[in-house]
Symmetry: D2
Subunit: 344 residues, 4 copies
């Protein structure tokens, strides 16, 4: 049965696999200090047009989130995020485990606004007992968000301006950054992202790599000793070359964006077919994840042919079902899925 439930169901893009095969018996030093990593770091900096950035390759998303937050905050400081944010809902309490509070703000579209952040800060800043609060110091957002939406350039600029004014770090979780940058509706480039935050990462695991996230640190305050902090969180891969090889491959010839663009286009076809047949979506998603409202019967019927992800039982008895495409999704399976929609 074909899987549309997630964007990490296959191995990796063929170009990466080829590179791993080709270099398998080459000897290198460990921990990301090899020439493959050097080259990949250089490619990332060039793609961001930020030669001043520090680039580090870590293995997975939760690990990357906790390492960046550990490197950025003093013990009493907190991170502002949405209630739907990955760090707030799917990381086993990792951020609290390293000692930091998440201040979760409500969202319906998966995004935080500059106004929300300013208001949260003001609430803190004007409280006579603010000394007895965890102090907001970082804003965490995801691009694209956990429910498929994405920030526009104007939204991101406004958010970053607010953060800078207040003195908060802006951190962008880019686990699915490729699907956002590759969206036909995106008005952001990688360079725009790099210029509108303090630290972000280019997600690999969900965008064609076996695993890997490329951390890009723009703000000097977050740079010192990042590797040691990663090490103490178990986030330095011994054969770091594997990360360098993968990012070195995907960051060439715009491959990262290209494969994600194709996936987003497939998601659009699926979305449009649902809309054309009168279905409703949970939120407007211009990226590779579509959240469709299905009746239990519709869900069951579709599930006989495809693996979907049941996100939530809705209060009215219907289901919130996630349908994901990825760099690996086959066009013929998309067509087959679309063909079923009118019959649901």
């Amino acid at each position: 049965m074909y899987c549309f439930n997630s964007d990490y169901t296959e191995g990796c893009h063929p170009a990466i696999l080829e590179k791993l095969i080709e270099t398998n018996m080459v000897q290198t030093t460990g921990y990301g200090m090899d020439a493959y990593c050097d080259e990949a770091r250089q490619l990332v900096k060039e793609a961001c047009n930020r030669p001043d950035a520090d680039v580090h390759f870590l293995v997975g998303g939760t690990q990357t989130n906790l390492t960046i937050i550990a490197a950025s905050l003093r013990p009493h400081q907190a991170v502002i995020a949405t209630n739907l944010s990955h760090i707030n809902t799917h990381e086993g309490g990792a951020i609290e485990h390293i000692g930091h509070r998440i201040l979760a703000l409500p969202t319906t579209d998966g995004k935080l606004t500059a106004e929300q952040v300013a208001a949260e800060w003001k609430k803190y800043d004007t409280d006579p007992a603010r000394e007895h609060w965890a102090q907001p110091k970082m804003v965490y957002i995801s691009q694209s968000t956990e429910i498929g939406s994405m920030y526009t350039k104007a939204e991101l600029k406004a958010l970053y301006a607010t953060c800078k004014e207040i003195g908060l770090f802006l951190f962008i979780d880019g686990a699915r950054l490729g699907y956002a940058l590759g969206s036909p509706d995106s008005d952001l480039t990688l360079e725009d992202v790099a210029n509108n935050c303090d630290v972000f990462y280019i997600g690999g695991t969900k965008c064609g790599l076996l695993f890997g996230e490329a951390v890009v640190i723009l703000n000097d305050a977050i740079k010192p000793d990042f590797r040691t902090i990663a090490k103490q969180n178990g986030a330095i891969l011994a054969k770091g070359r594997l990360l360098g090889l993968q990012f070195g491959t995907i960051m060439k010839d715009n491959l990262y964006i290209e494969i994600c663009r194709h996936a987003t286009e497939q998601a659009y076809q699926i979305r449009d077919a649902f809309l054309a047949n009168g279905f409703k979506l949970i939120t407007e998603s211009p990226t590779n994840q579509q959240f469709v409202i299905l009746t239990p019967a519709q869900y069951e019927k579709l599930s006989q042919e495809f693996v979907l992800s049941l996100i939530e039982y809705l209060p009215d008895g219907n289901y919130n079902a996630r349908i994901c495409t990825s760099w690996a999704t086959k066009d013929e399976e998309v067509a087959k899925l679309i063909a079923m929609i009118p019959e649901l």
Copy 2:
């Protein structure tokens, strides 16, 4: 200007001060292993009618909360509390600092219900991705609550039954336990409290002591090595005798309840005067804290004679003002305050 803003504005009850004077030059061993502490522990166990309990004396509320939670949870476990709970709002992120997530549930009356806890557990337990969540393992409530309300015996029993059924610890923060037990409207005794939770503490700081909280551990799972865990959190007082002396005094002859009862009665007089003059309260409080809605002008006028606590600017422009009584509140000042109310 007389203070009604808090219940810890004075030193301690005269009987305690006398005891400290009387014993000042007596030599004892340290860290709570002295005879005064032994006696006080015995008195607490007797008052609870729980000879099996472990009793420990710590210095302050935040310290006690974090020590109990540290002693109860494994690293991935979380504590359920209200969004208004002290641990969620006034402890600088102490619980997260020791690695645990707070699952804050909404409340309007300051209380958690058994239904809320059961629903939160079910949400966790039925989630296919529950392995990626912080695991609820403890429920934290306050008696009286942060906004002056209190649990009835039926409510507490229902909550504890639910906790036991699910396998959660129930922890009662009793920083203001005396004001609840001493409330004319209370249907709970200290023994009832001890029999309907896994761990709680008898608050001293806000109820007549210079400082001090008496932790009562009922559940054997929380008992091992509690003193070492307290020590590593900086919560073992070198001259532990000071805690034994204070609790040994206040736990005799029902003094703890008596002095708190008087304070609650004073609070009732104030409350009734406000209600009789058409003022509205934030919530119904049968304890020593009353939260009154005042216009800015009323607040200013009252503040010329008394120190109040401005808790919150309400959306309609009015103020949520806290008026506290305590074991130390003078009847003549209560009378003076009441006399002003009709003129506001």
Copy 3:
């Protein structure tokens, strides 16, 4: 220049690479819940002859050490290890970062003895102020050790008997377990290891995998919620299949032991050549790491042809140089190295 400086300089064993290629486009579920992981877990249990074991696949050594220790200890508990242990010297303070103290005991041969552990416990247990100490609760050893030595069956049995008697967990870091089990001088089997500790891991990163450590939990006390604790430490790989595929390959047909045995045999040839030419070793190593004392001139000369690892400047001005073989080491390079030794 050929590298003898470490045992993780290449990619992975060809059989593993082939498996990754073959399955690359197969769709699976994530987080180690796929069929490849199921099969690999089964193989590990069979190899250990412990159907009751819990098996988990994590990515790297530091991550695995900190996850196991986090899952085993309460906050005030400490882990006993040697002063040379990996957790004490090369993990950036990871164990302290998650809140636990390392009690580092002196060693010259890299090993802990049952007597040392018993003595350390007694020191703790008989101290009148033991409540003010971090409490020893786990013993951490490495097999083979950080300096290449290994425990005999008698030593391991004695250590485990002592741990059980006292009530300590015994945890074996098996990052290089293959090289110990594959040593011609080993009197231990994988089954012996599993039967003489509470938890251990089968190291993959240094023994032929791209990455990966297979945790085997024998003691029921360490089993609950291990996956959530791993998740909160960022240690659950999204495409967990990659770990299942690798361990599923290497655990078949004794491949794991075979490739390590060959490496250890190569190390023996190198060792014997050094000894035959009058060189001295830091310690007796029956595994793939040999620590040779070289003069600076000898070190320089050898370094013109091979990459070695300079571990330490010795007090007498000489160097402690590590020479490692691995599953990937070429026989002709070993021969070339040996041929140089008489000329140093």
Copy 4:
């Protein structure tokens, strides 16, 4: 039986008790923001001649140590101390609990030298794998030390110069600072202490207060948000006035030094009597703690009249016994003890 086993066996100096009695019913604001604390902070700054210092009053030693260290270090940073240091031996793993490693260096006289610190830094700094180490960032010393010795001005200046050169914070635990400053052999003033470290505290608990430690922060890098960090460690006393009142009393008219000087003089009399009768001391102590080597029989005989502290069983079968004086020690008991010595 009279106690010489510790310096915190009584309550507090009569002048302090009087102040507490006198102010008991005065109303003040909480958390150390009252006028008594303001005055005491001013007195401390004046005594140190450092108007730029930040002064905070905390309750106890372990709490103060962990709060200062938490406020000073990033997560991967470590603190250098002696193996005999209080944080290394008597605080239940508190420093590791908040995530930091202690690098314990050997000492026989209880002190660290500038050379030791420089050597430890060099070992770290020159290690090719230093990224995988916890990074030294603070040096912790005690004045007087845990075994009664004390730093001279020259030693302290050398240590601080080394710390500044390397970029380490110097932190002085002054739990017994009064006994050092009050020693007839001291060449240091409080001002000297303040000018030769980044942060220190004036110990109250062991020097005449019921409890309390006055933290003096000299280095601006440690100042921000100290109160919030203290709060999250449960170290902010609700009735902070109690600390202000005590330090406000003891810092006036040189009382702090005077009462400690008397105790040290008593200790000298005891020391001299032991030496005159041929006894040996563990280390030369110019402060209030004397560590005497006694045979078991001598120890037993003395213990029939006085409570001593048995620190350690020495390898030769003798005992290391601590004899402490304090601000509360009675001259007649000292005389009685001295009279017994020739008869042991």
